[in-house]
Amino acid sequence: MSGDFVRRLPGGGRSFRNHRGAFTWFNLDPWLMLILLSIVGFGLVVLHSASDGNWEVVAAQLVRLGLGFGLMILIAQIPPYFMLRTAPLLYGLGLILLLLIYPFGTEVNGSRRWLRVPGVLNFQPSELMKLFLPMVLAWYFHERHLPPGLKPVVVSCLLLVLPAGLIIIQPDLGTGLMIATSGFLVLILAGLPWRYILRGSVLVLISAPILWLVIKDYQRGRILTMFDPERDPLGAGWNIIQSKIAIGSGGFSGKGLLNGTQSHLDFLPESSTDFIIAVLAEELGFLGVVSLLVLYGLFILRGLMMSLNAQDTFGRLLCGSITFTFSVYVFVNIGMVSGILPVVGVPLPLVSYGGTALLTLFAGFGLMMSIHSHRRITLL
């Protein structure tokens, strides 16, 4: 129970290894691994159908998943001590990259999100921030008394607002908000007093009308469309109307894999990426949705257990925030597709087709694995 203390002793941070087979040898958590594989397998089946039975799409996703698992295993080998030490450095690097976008970023569809190193790689710095921000906040609170007082709260809020603001003005409101959320989750888990949370919420509510005036037209449209998709059924409302039809027509047990008419006849947009849950709901029905949510629930439970087992504040906060951020992704995606949240470009974790976001997820899982396996004492 006294990880922090141990860490402070010479040689601390190196952990014992309980030799419990190959998983442990690779610093992996067998339970989390099993749940991940189940979700990924389920996701591949749905993706196969969502892409009209196109095996090439499935193969491409398999390659990405392979890369993801590789990245996860790699990161799981890095001791948490090292992460703790490098967290501020990484955060600084992430900020610099976000700033570099302005002179060097590539503009796509009117927003600068990408950094291109010709011939080497092409990436969104905001993806890195998804992990670096929780890391730096966890590092910050690790060094301080908890629950935090006013000053640490202000400082951590600055740490949070800086990258989130840079991303929002790219503009990429969705990702910025999601990153801010992951930061707030660290704050809350660190024991941010409830009264601050309450005041913050009131502040947000008060500023909502101002926000309404500040946000862009298309964003306002998305919110209006959520409340009444029929106001523009052939334009902005089309996606959400069609996805609701897809979900609703699935009924209890669905139309069967590859039989969903909404997705296969292209009425459902983005059917293999952001709206893939609608394909699942149409073809596998309520049963399919429940199954997936149960798997996600198990993942969250295991993640929380791992965070409770973490031996220092850094590990706890990082592990917990990654787990809760994951559940926020799930909620926002399904909420948006089923029409209770406005349309934001959030993929369904581990199931949606796509690259960068998937790798970031696995990197996060790697962090969790590392934190979990580099321990001296196992409670759970």
Binding site: G248, T261, L265, F267, A281, G320, F324
Partner: protein, 635 residues
């Protein structure tokens, strides 16, 4: 362990974390439950609605038009067929930049303002149903070529071939066959929308109208699966259209053409009937119009020209023209008199050239009465009264019969009613009676009216079709056959209320009537005033035995409201020429009525027309097999 050395309160920190994590887990549980509730709501409460909407998305019902039945003459000659027309169709949802499209399209196809307005209207109706709507009809080869060459500019537009009606005989058959018209919004309101879902035309006149349901066929449909961009993915199922039935008419295209030649451009009408079946062999009204003009929609200019013409080409004289029958009524009056034994075959009168009602000053003159009062036909019996067309004989006869018996018995020959089975526009003519005059003229029936009726003048009006039908009854020695256009069509229930003909008359009454009509044509080489009225015009060299009767009818009225040349007015005041006939007498194969509007004397002008037509039918016409089974198979 060694907590004393700790700088932080680890226990309380981890306590806080446990508490926060538990709260978070609770929130996640609530949020996930919310998702399940939402999805569950969509999949239970909204289930059937969603299924219906997803089906509506997916399935498009495309109506397939049946092919309209052909109309053939008795020998299989095509009277109405279907030709492909290339129409420009538009799928409004697939049009990008409507203004540009129209701008280029107008240039490529040389569209009129009217067409451009229509295009704007149609392409503005976006529904995301991806239905193809026709905007331009009958594109020329050049237009199609130019469109196809520029096709890349016109997403959402395509040229589609559709079958439309074509009348290969043109004006010749216009009044006999009728025509179809494009269905307009007013028609659409009263039509069965399903039956006409894929059909643009409907029979508006004549046989095309009467046999509309048979010719139309039954619409078919394909239920097709479409994707979100309106592309057809596959045909789910469907019902094939049942093509319309072909219609074989009794008409003989050759005879119709012969009748047209015989009229030689004069205004008038010819109706010829096969006495055995009642089948109408020829039904001609001249002048006529090209029915093809009406199929895709006639221009205002063309239509006004037709409508305002003094010759009234749109007017179907054969079935709607109302004329006094004149002397062609005499054989029927004679027959009625013989039937009632009002006269006997041997009865005769002395014709002084005029007739006077008892106690009345007025003289009713015979046609050959002269101012020196030395006209008249001398001793006249029924036969001579017919072949000399003696007016005085029939004045006397009509008065002796009385109006009641006349109007009642004339009805048996189809006068005063539209007895034709399948020509919906046929006029009933007018057969006067005491009751009619009281109701319509508010006047009593005067004896003078009866006198006039005796020679087919006065109020009585008949159509050429009615005259032909009546003479058919004579050819059949009284047996009534209802005239009809189409072969092999059942006419259940229509026999009620039809004329009885004169089948109940004894055999011996026919000899003087038919004999008299025969002599109209064949009695010749006699002294002056003893030849048949038509003999010198048609009877000298005739190869078969024909029974005929001429008539010359007064012009009832001239249409008012238009200013015509004086000479034209003068021409239009001339009398109408009639001739009715059947031949051969012993076994009649054709019965006909010829009317020449303002044609002058019947024997002189109408009889040669009748002879030419009958000559063609009996002598020239190549018999191409049994006419009644002349069906053409295949399309």
């Amino acid at each position: 362990m060694r907590e004393a050395l700790a700088l932080k309160d680890h226990r309380s920190e981890s306590q806080i974390y446990v508490e926060r994590a538990a709260t978070g887990a609770g929130v996640v549980f609530v949020l996930f439950s919310l998702l399940l509730l939402r999805v569950g709501y969509l999949q239970t409460v909204q289930y059937s609605d969603s299924v219906a909407r997803s089906e509506k998305n997916r399935v498009q019902v495309i109506a397939r038009p049946p092919v309209r039945g052909l109309i053939l003459d008795r020998q299989g000659v095509l009277l109405a067929e279907n030709r492909p027309s290339r129409n420009l169709e538009v799928i409004p949802e697939q049009i990008k930049r409507s203004q540009d499209t129209l701008f280029h399209l107008a240039a490529v196809l040389e569209m009129s303002e009217e067409e451009m307005a229509r295009f704007r209207q149609v392409s503005g109706r976006k529904t995301r149903r991806f239905e193809s709507v026709p905007v331009l009809f009958d594109l020329s080869d050049e237009q199609v070529a130019r469109f196809e060459a520029n096709r890349f500019r016109f997403p959402g537009l395509s040229v589609q071939a559709k079958l439309v009606r074509n009348y290969p005989q043109g004006a010749l058959m216009a009044h006999a066959v009728g025509s179809v018209r494009r269905i307009n919004d007013r028609d659409a309101a009263s039509l069965n929308a399903t039956a006409y879902a894929a059909t643009d035309h409907i029979g508006k006149l004549g046989v095309e109208r009467f046999y509309e349901t048979d010719l139309l066929g039954q619409v078919g449909y394909d239920r097709v699966e479409v994707n979100a961009r309106g592309r057809m993915m596959r045909v789910l199922d469907g019902v094939k259209p049942t093509n319309g039935q072909n219609l074989s008419l009794y008409l003989d295209a050759g005879l119709q053409a012969a009748a047209d030649r015989a009229l030689a451009g004069r205004r008038g009408a010819v109706v010829a009937i096969d006495p055995k079946t009642g089948g109408i062999l020829a039904l001609l009204s001249r002048p006529a119009y090209d029915p093809n003009l009406f199929v895709q929609g006639i221009s205002h200019q063309d239509y006004n020209a037709l409508r305002n013409s003094i010759d009234a080409p749109l007017f179907n004289r054969a079935i709607q023209g109302r004329y006094q029958p004149g002397s062609t009524l005499k054989p029927f009056i004679g027959l009625i008199a013989l039937g009632h034994s009002t006269i006997s075959v041997s009865d005769s009168i002395e014709d002084p050239g005029w007739y006077q009602l008892p106690g009345n000053e007025r003289l009713y003159r015979d046609w050959n009465w002269t101012k020196t009062d030395d006209g008249g036909h001398g001793r006249v019996n029924i036969e001579k009264a017919l072949y000399r067309s003696c007016n005085v004989y029939f004045y006397d006869l009509a008065v002796r019969l009385g109006i009641d018996r006349l109007s009642q018995d004339l009805k048996q020959f189809g006068f005063g009613q539209a007895a034709v089975l399948d020509l919906p526009d046929a006029d009933a003519g007018l057969l006067p009676s005491r009751a009619w005059k009281r109701d319509h003229r508010k006047l009593p029936w005067y004896p003078g009216d009866t006198v006039n009726l005796g020679i087919g003048h006065g109020d009585i009006l008949v159509t050429p079709l009615q005259m032909a039908t009546a003479v058919t009854a004579l050819a059949n020695r009284g047996r009534w056959v209802a005239p009809r256009m189409a072969q092999n069509q059942p006419f259940q229930g229509v026999a009620e209320g039809l004329p009885a003909g004169a089948g109940a008359l004894p055999e011996e009454v026919w000899a003087p009537i038919i004999g008299g009509m025969e002599k109209v044509v064949h009695r010749g080489n006699q002294i002056y005033g003893e030849n048949g009225t038509a003999w010198s015009y048609i009877g000298r060299d005739i190869e078969y035995r024909m029974a005929g009767k001429s008539g010359t009818a007064q012009v009832v009225a001239i249409e008012q409201g238009e200013v015509y040349e004086a000479s034209m007015i003068e021409e239009r005041k001339r009398k109408h020429a009639w001739f009715i006939a059947f031949a051969p007498i012993e076994d009649p194969k054709i019965a006909l009525a010829v009317l020449l509007e303002n044609g002058g004397g019947g024997s002189e002008n109408a009889a040669p027309v009748a002879r030419e037509i009958i000559d063609y039918y009996l002598l020239e016409r190549a018999d191409r097999g049994s006419p009644d089974v002349a069906m053409v198979s295949g399309r």
